[in-house]
Symmetry: C2
Subunit: 287 residues, 2 copies
């Protein structure tokens, strides 16, 4: 069976991101392929790797793993949810693996999570083959799955959300528009007047120009913009950035007491504060 991203070397199957424009590849030994399906949009695979367990792979690009998916999911949701004083309405654009939504419903103030994923197949395959990330059993009833283009969905909303999280894949192909100003303008309008937008803003090592552009574009639109980092072994370079853009609440002034920590494996009060403390090369990139 041919799977994008999997190659044979020394009689062994290896999974490797196609991302090699810097000549750097993260490579995982494959134990077995659990699922391979074709959607209208992409090849959706779940591959069991030796070191990181089950891994969601879209068109050959590793998205999340059983071993460290929690880091990304906790970081993209807890930071905005602990910053907002009373988050009730949440929208997640992308994030079909379901991990971010699982974190959102840990907050009792949250009443509804609109999970807008363009590719239904990603949700189905994740729920069936990757419950360690997507969640076991029936999803929380507050989560509403919407299989629609995220940009079109957001464009139609106004004053609707306390928190919008852009849990997208890399800015190539269909996800590219999620990194552009017109979409951020629509997202701003879809937020309530003290709402918070958060997005994954790529690697400061391998995609510094993306992070820089996202940060500065959001600064043109939002009074409070804060970039924060997490150490995610799965992603090339191991360090990943998120950028939070807020209409009123500043994470650096939030008291952090609203942070839910029960069951967390990455985010705690120390991280909520420490993640905004950036290395000099990242500060200089954003200045």
């Amino acid at each position: 069976m041919t799977i994008k991203g999997v190659f044979v070397w020394d009689d062994t199957d290896w999974l490797s991101d196609p991302e090699d424009r810097f000549g750097f590849r993260a490579t995982w030994k494959v134990k077995r392929v659990l699922a391979k399906e074709e959607s209208v949009f992409q090849e959706v695979a779940v591959i069991e790797t030796e070191g990181f367990g089950k891994t969601l792979v879209l068109d050959g690009v590793v998205q999340t793993t059983e071993k460290d998916g929690f880091i990304y999911n906790e970081m993209i949701m807890h930071v905005p949810l602990a910053t907002h004083p009373q988050p009730a309405d949440v929208c997640i654009v992308g994030g079909g693996d379901g991990g971010a939504a699982q974190e959102a419903v840990k907050y009792s103030s949250v009443q509804a999570v609109d999970m807008v994923e363009i590719d239904r197949k990603v949700v189905e395959v994740s729920q069936r083959h990757l419950p360690e990330v997507a969640g076991f059993g029936e999803p929380d009833p507050r989560i509403r799955f919407v299989y629609e283009d995220g940009t079109a969905f957001i464009k139609e909303r106004e004053n609707a959300y306390d928190v919008i999280a852009i849990d997208s894949s890399d800015p190539v192909g269909p996800a590219a528009v999620l990194f552009e100003k017109p979409f951020y303008q629509d997202a701003k309008r879809a937020l309530k007047d003290d709402g918070i937008l958060v997005c994954q803003s790529e690697s400061p090592v391998f995609h510094p120009e993306v992070l820089k552009r996202v940060h500065h574009t959001l600064r043109e639109l939002f009074p409070v913009v804060r970039t924060y980092l997490a150490a995610i072994p799965t992603y090339p370079g191991g360090v990943w950035s998120f950028t939070l853009a807020s209409l009123r609440h500043d994470p650096l002034e939030a008291d952090g007491q609203r942070l839910v920590t029960a069951g967390n494996r990455y985010v705690n009060h120390d991280i909520l504060d420490g993640c905004f403390r950036l290395p000099q090369y990242v500060k200089e990139l954003l200045s």
Copy 2:
């Protein structure tokens, strides 16, 4: 030319750590081999990679690179040097690439740096082929190179150093003793009575048992033990730990004003504080 760690795939040379017990390999595209020499201890190579520039490789294991070597070197030296009120005498065990010593002499209070590297070849090759890490031109006259076994050297010293940094390779082969209690006891005796020991304590993701053991062994010997993290793209998993053990001064109580920041690309005041804020899974590992 056969070089440890380099393999051919798809007609291209790739450099890859042999470390694959978790089935995870970081892999770099090779541009050319700049040096390959055999010492009594190991194969010492400098390989130019496409994305990370010149790379020091010992017996096939990547040690430091032109692109991100500064992160490790700044983190292992600035944290203890900014914690100690007046560091004058510094000893570096290992660290033959010279990068840590370059950081140490940024502190005007530092009068002498004993660089104890067992393998002279590592120093020579680094100075000749990797001056971006080892330093251009003549080394600072405060740096004294000692080509000796670090354990024997430290055993003979008493009340000699303000800061000892264990800048070792992984705990396999000759470096293994540098992670053991007898060596830490000798290092404690080699410190002045308010001295600080710091060591690289491996990846919390790939070698959690090493980090845990180092941390707890040092706790048996020192009143103040603090583990801190840095995001180093070159090392597998991208997140690396250091553990500081101190006879008196606590980095969490230091005012940080002594930190030298001029020329730093990673360590600034935010990092000096933020690096001790550990993710939950690391806290639980160390508790």
